[in-house]
């Protein structure tokens, strides 16, 4: 296992993994947090149906989403002309679709758990729209940071979609999970295990940082 620490391709794969899944998570947050806020904050017809749809979305196997994205992006597909299939962009796209429902679901649940009168309070105190949103997000930060962790954890560890739409091309679209599959199939169990340890270390470090932010000032 020792040689993987000095292998430059391992560092390259790790960085690519972080870049693809990090970008996908950020995009999922940009889309998912406002939607989750609307879903958790308001009462409207069809809300229960939407909640159920989001909760289902949280559990769709990544390989199924990968398949759908593949059908859309493959050369003969409706968006084939964009030539995105087997690129990092395709992987990001698939991972956004995997993680957005997670972000929406976690955000909606954390907004719903806030005191119902909180927005009214901020309104009568005179807080403007942006300040209200910021203060509400701060109140809901436990759930929002859980959303970040669950979304990133979900996409960094998935293999089905990345394999399907990324193609596991060496030096191009290979990420830690697809590399583990490759090494396992080649019988390089030591190397596969080593990559697994790297993946776990990366996600643990990130989650540790987010958990520290999440738990800050909870004591007292």
């Amino acid at each position: 296992m020792d040689e993987i620490w000095s292998d430059p391709t391992v560092a390259e794969i790790s960085l690519r993994t972080l870049a693809v899944s990090g970008l996908a998570t950020v995009a999922a947050l940009v889309v998912g947090v406002p939607l989750g806020y609307l879903l958790g904050r308001n009462r409207f017809r069809g809300q229960t149906f939407l909640f159920a749809a989001v909760n289902t979305g949280m559990g769709v196997p990544p390989v199924v989403i990968g398949l759908v994205v593949w059908l859309l992006l493959v050369r003969s597909g409706p968006f084939g002309a964009l030539e995105l299939i087997y690129t990092k962009t395709a992987m990001v796209l698939a991972q956004v679709l995997i993680s957005a429902p997670i972000v929406v679901g976690f955000t909606a649940a954390s907004i719903e758990a806030l005191p119902p009168r909180l927005p009214d309070l901020l309104h009568v105190l005179g807080a403007g729209r942006l300040r209200r949103m910021w203060l509400i997000a701060r109140e809901a930060r436990l759930g929002l940071l859980a959303a970040v962790m669950a979304a990133f954890g979900g996409v960094v560890s998935e293999v089905g979609a990345s394999m399907t739409v990324g193609g596991n091309l060496q030096g191009e679209t290979r990420v830690l999970t697809t590399a583990i599959v490759t090494e396992t199939s080649r019988g390089n169990i030591d190397r596969a295990l080593g990559l697994g340890v790297i993946l776990l270390t990366l996600t643990f470090t990130l989650n540790l940082g987010l958990t520290l932010i999440q738990q800050r000032r909870r004591k007292g």
């Binding site: 119902p116 009168r117 909180l118 009214d120 309104h123 105190l125 005179g126 203060l135």
Partner: protein, 311 residues
Amino acid sequence: MSLIIEGLRHARPNGFVLDVPALELPAGKVTALLGDNGAGKSTLLRAIAGLERPHSGTVRFDGAPLRTEALAFAFQERVFLQGTVRDNLDLALRIRRLPAAERAVRLAAAAAELGIAHLLDREAARLSGGEQQRVNLARTLALRAPLTLLDEPLASLDAEVRERLLAELPAVLRGFIRVAVVVAHDRREALGMAEHIVILRAGRVLAAGDKGALFARPPDVETARALGLVILARDQSCWAVPDHQLRLGRSDHAPVFELRVEQVLDLGTHAEVVGRCGGAIVTVRAAADAELPRPGATASIIAVHAVELPR
């Protein structure tokens, strides 16, 4: 100048309609909204604050549409942000863009008024219900808002604090308000704090006016009843009587009524005679050593002070 509501109409999906064609709350006074549960007291308060979107109507304060900066509102539900009591009070003042020195002065003053100086560094969410209510009030009073709205300000407080605030809150409010509106389920609290009374019933204003004037001359039976007066009828006439003004006996100088006695309670220091007078259930206090009627008997009672109501 004052708070003027015109043509306010707000319907809820559950069928409740708040309908206030015209209402003026006088400047320099504390107004209490009185009414049963579901009469629309809290809805009216929220509509004044702009938290309800009424179907029609305007609220004008000092001749202009109400600005949020002029407003402070203590909700019945005690809502706090994460953090200490100081954080919560300071945030309210920071949102109003007050400089740090002014914030410190306001915060200390409000903490002293509500007796919460020792709680400032405690987590707001972890306080007892009574402590939270005092923080809720302190946050509202610290804003020194010309229009201050208090929904059930004395709820959840222990008896000692409640009585102290009942005595002190009106004076504190008068120190800075143009208009203050208090909603209290408890009639004693509402009357104790306010000089001006608005009585609501099923979403409409039943009566509004100066407290003294309303008690001196209740316009009708419903208003008198809402003010807590006992309504007694005799010979086509109706009288409104404060219950402590009823005595057993007869008199040539005060209206006399017949009471069908149902229960007599000897409470040691005094006795209570409970019975029916017309349709009303009436409790009359009597000296413990007085000659008391028996249940089933008919007794005469006099209203030492009574107001005859217009028919």
